[in-house]
């Protein structure tokens, strides 16, 4: 049995092409880690870079302005619709992991008990 040279690329191309549909059928395929944010159901450790400040505020059950304040004075002009991943470019030195620690301490104060003020 002599093998045609086309076998190698054909096998690799077919396997790569069917990987996505097979992964989808098996329920393994997901191209995003984004999930629905449920109000007041998030912990500080659940904050992700794709979340906006407003989504995080809703999930944590605190006003968005409180999170903006926690980001520091450089963040005072940020809109609640800003995603954390974009905050990195706008607030020098911002890192989500250290912000979580900072926020954990900030939310431990009594002001955290204020209700969320979601616009609209």
């Amino acid at each position: 049995m002599k093998l045609s040279r086309w076998w190698a690329p054909a096998v690799v191309v077919v396997v790569m092409l069917v990987a996505a549909p097979v992964g989808q059928a098996a329920g393994w395929w997901s191209t995003s880690g984004r999930t629905q944010v449920v109000a007041q159901q998030l912990g500080v450790d659940d904050l992700k870079g794709w979340m906006t400040i407003q989504q995080a505020a809703d999930g944590l059950g605190v006003p968005a302005q409180r999170l903006i304040d926690a980001l520091g004075p450089e963040a005072s002009g940020l809109a609640p619709s800003t995603a954390f991943k974009d905050v990195e470019a706008k607030v020098p030195g911002f890192e989500l992991s250290s912000f979580r620690d900072q926020l954990r301490e900030a939310l431990a104060s009594p002001a955290a008990a204020e209700p969320s003020q979601t616009p609209g």
Binding site: A8, V11, T31
Partner: protein
């Protein structure tokens, strides 16, 4: 003139058959590369223009190397590093399976970064830029750079638990299309690396693949265990070295004994170029029995006919 004589006159010569083989192989490869590059570019445009964040896949979610970057974290903690998704694991697993089965054809036929390097290389020849030949000894040493890069990427991916390589990855810098849609959010280091890779690839074919690609490092290890590999029949080979010339990653195919280097990217240019039938083949290991027939069909080493065909092919190459 009889029908047989007429048919014989119109039958392509060996040289024409060989030229056709080279042309068809190259055409098939270019079309496949183009197809996959278009898929990635369309995904990047959709991701950049999506009205609601997270509705379409980013180009990093479609890269099988993401699976290698998160593998250690996934195995030790059961979680994925940030910006890596289950799609990366599916594609990474599929790539490893395909490579074990049929060798590393991903780099030669699918990888968009490889495709753009091929394009830049062609552009360099069109512009008559000099072709830099890396001395063999230095070339061998530089190829370890892929493993050094792999170790660095995995180390920082594990220690930072995020897609550390994203800021330096030329694939993301080029195909993420931030340079087109979001120039303000560009990772400057990534763009500089991408520019160096592209300029370098116009002087040294597939510069990134040869010396720096961490995924190439993984695949070169995995492809050592591939079922199908390009094998050189030393009895049939006339040592003409024609197969060395088209190799994009500069392998000495003519000295393979018998399996072509694990650094092979499976482009098949060497197989299509070989003028001697049966000297260079895609085949399974000898224990499967497929190698036996190749030896028989190839005939004896350097037969008069093989030497004549090789000389003709070399003359044509010069012309």
């Amino acid at each position: 003139m009889s029908v047989d004589e007429r048919a014989a006159r119109h039958r392509p010569t060996k040289a024409k058959q060989r030229k056709g083989r080279i042309r068809n192989t190259l055409l098939a490869r270019r079309l496949t590369q183009l197809g996959f590059a278009v898929v990635i570019i369309v995904a990047a445009v959709r991701h950049q223009l999506e009205p609601t964040a997270g509705t379409s896949a980013s180009v990093d979610a479609l890269c099988p190397f993401g699976a290698m970057e998160t593998l250690v974290t996934w195995l030790t903690t059961g979680t994925l590093i940030s910006r890596i998704h289950p799609s990366n694991l599916v594609l990474g697993g599929a790539l490893l399976a395909a490579t074990l089965l049929a060798g590393n054809a991903f780099c030669g036929w699918i990888c968009p970064l490889g495709s753009i390097q091929d394009l830049v290389w062609r552009l360099g020849r069109w512009l008559h830029l000099p072709e830099l030949r890396v001395p063999a000894r230095l070339d061998t040493q530089l190829r370890w750079g892929r493993f050094a890069m792999l170790a660095v990427v995995i180390w920082f991916s594990v220690s930072t638990a995020k897609l550390w390589f994203a800021d330096y990855d030329p694939y993301l810098a080029i195909f993420g299309l931030d340079w087109l849609f979001n120039p303000g959010g560009l990772a400057v280091v990534g763009i500089v690396i991408a520019a160096v890779v592209l300029i370098g690839s116009s002087l040294v074919n597939r510069l990134w693949c040869r010396y720096l690609c961490p995924l190439g490092g993984v695949l070169s290890v995995v492809s050592r265990f591939s079922f199908l590999r390009i094998r050189r029949n030393q009895d049939a080979c006339t040592d003409c070295t024609l197969c060395d010339r088209p190799c994009p990653v500069g392998l000495q195919v003519s000295t393979s004994s018998p399996v072509v280097s694990a650094d092979c990217i499976g482009c098949l240019d060497c197989v299509a170029t070989c003028p001697v039938k049966g000297a260079l083949n895609l085949s399974a290991p000898a224990w499967t029995g497929t190698g036996k027939v190749d030896l028989v069909s190839a005939g004896s080493r350097g037969s008069a006919r093989s030497r004549r065909e090789t000389a003709d092919a070399k003359r044509e190459g010069r012309a």
